[in-house]
């Protein structure tokens, strides 16, 4: 029961950085960013490769973005993807998840797919919507926040995580789409020879499909978040801060002395 798996990967600005807003106010400044693979997508990739190793088949890593995104796709090849496809697209266009999902869906339709995987959310836009949209557009059943996947007789059994730690388990026939949760597995490190090999492998670049949107979308503007409240910040040397922290804990009665 070989599986044709398409895993959608996103390259994002490292969210641990500080960000500045571009002069036109419609994007962040992108001149001094470093980029990485989206956190949840690492788990989606690992799940795809594990399923291939267990059941046989092929993994196609699919991404969308400028040339720089090839780095993420090479990482995927080094970790076990068989093929990499990049839809050429500019960053400024990624604020609308509907556009991104329609472009990805157009390509997914052209690839053999028993199973499509995405991460549960991106750490830059945080929409948690790309996977579900692709599923709806392509006509696949889907489940979100998946922490465990088994396949038997072309039926998936998946555990999906709910708020509060409960899991809801579904049986879903293939073909299907799943969005994979953080911590669903332990992503592997790519061995050096695989990294060397991946560096020479071709990445198929394709032009974005022309998609028609049932709406008009616009970014009005970006701003630093308006803080609902802000902590009273304690400054000074570590020793000074420690004194104030200890004093606070005593005053509020959390320590007795």
């Amino acid at each position: 029961m070989a599986l044709n798996i398409v895993v959608c990967l996103k390259q994002i600005p490292n969210p641990d950085l500080q960000f500045q807003i571009a002069p036109d106010g419609k994007d962040i400044r992108r001149d001094a960013l470093n980029y990485k693979i989206n956190g949840a997508d690492e788990y989606a990739l690992e799940e795809a490769v594990r399923l291939k190793e267990k059941y046989g088949g092929r993994v196609v890593a699919l991404s969308l973005g400028p040339k720089r995104v090839d780095q993420v796709l090479r990482e995927a090849l080094a970790k076990g993807a068989d093929e990499a496809v990049r839809i050429a697209h500019e960053d400024s266009g990624t604020y609308d998840v509907g556009t991104v999902a329609r472009l990805l869906a157009a390509t997914v339709r052209t690839l053999p797919h028993d199973l499509v995987l995405t991460g549960v959310q991106s750490d830059d836009q945080g929409s948690s919507a790309t996977g579900g949209l692709i599923a709806g557009l392509v006509g696949l059943p889907h489940a979100s926040v998946v922490t465990r996947v088994d396949v038997k007789d072309r039926i998936l059994e998946v555990a999906t995580e709910l708020e509060g730690g409960l899991q809801r388990v579904y049986a879903i026939p293939l073909p299907a789409l799943l969005t994979i949760q953080f911590g669903a597995n332990t992503p592997r490190y790519a061995p050096l020879p695989a990294i060397m090999r991946a560096a020479r492998q071709p990445i198929r670049e394709i032009a974005p499909a022309s998609v028609s949107l049932p709406y008009a979308f616009g970014v009005r503007g970006l701003s630093p978040p308006i803080a609902k409240g802000h902590a009273e910040i304690v400054t000074g040397s570590v020793e000074d801060q420690a004194k104030k922290f200890a004093q606070l804990l005593r005053e509020k009665g959390f320590v007795r002395r």
Partner: protein, 322 residues
Amino acid sequence: MSGDILIVAEHLEGRLAPSTFEVVSLGRALAAASGGVVRVALFGQGVRALAEALAKLGVEVLLVEDEALAEYTGDGYVLAVRGLLESAKPRLLLAAHTAQGYDLAPGLAGALDLPLVTNAVGVRLDGSRLVVTRRLLNEKVQAEIEIASDRMIVGTVRPGSVKAASPAPGGIVVPTKVSIEASRVRMRFARIERPTVQDIDLAAADVIVSAGRGIQKKENLPLIEEFAKAVGGVVGASRPLTDMDWLPKTRQVGQSGKTVHPKLYVACGISGAMQHVAGMKDAGLIVAINTDPSAPIFEVAHVGFVADVLKLLPATLKELTG
């Protein structure tokens, strides 16, 4: 197009999700602004009592009961919404941005080719446009986006961004028949699984000292434990730590873990992603320690130390015991 708002209620094991009350509150405000009507769709089987509880919020509740809707499936709910849309033309469909809400909303928007915006912290109408505020890049950037369409817009609202609706008169339950072909529900609900690990109950603790990625390595956990002990508390964690198995899942604070209301919450090296903050923002006193002054945890904390937790905790312990 009408200014009507349709809300999809969420429930599990006979209980309405608290976030549904927040979405109803937002829906009421938007409908008041647009001169429309708010309707809440409740899908399920044997859930009349939940419909009546929702009607107490002063809204029209469309109660759709069907065997195929007994448990949530994306397929079943999409078919149910599709059925309702045959006789109604709302301008906006809203759900909470929960595991269920962000499963349903994109699937629906994709299947019906509708505009979608998710994880909104603010939603307003500006003429014919829907203006939505979202948080990006680990909460460090806020974006205002707009969508205009002659089709129904689908949206999800982040839990905790709107106050829950309070009771109001004028609500009504309207049992509504929607035909759902069971064969078109491709997925099948199997069961609910509960965590089996026996551990302390974080939700019952008065003091929680939580560790995040800022503690850098597992070997630093004893420091957190020592500090927790000094302040009479227990150790909690942010998601990355439980994902790496540094601490059991039962210690995870946040949306997918425990929601806690301790008297004191000390966030050690936790950035303050929405998923974590949702679980601890109502603590009595929140103290945050983080090296990044722009970390969103300082937004919910009462007192903040811009410091390396691995230095500040030992120094504070020395102050407390020395």
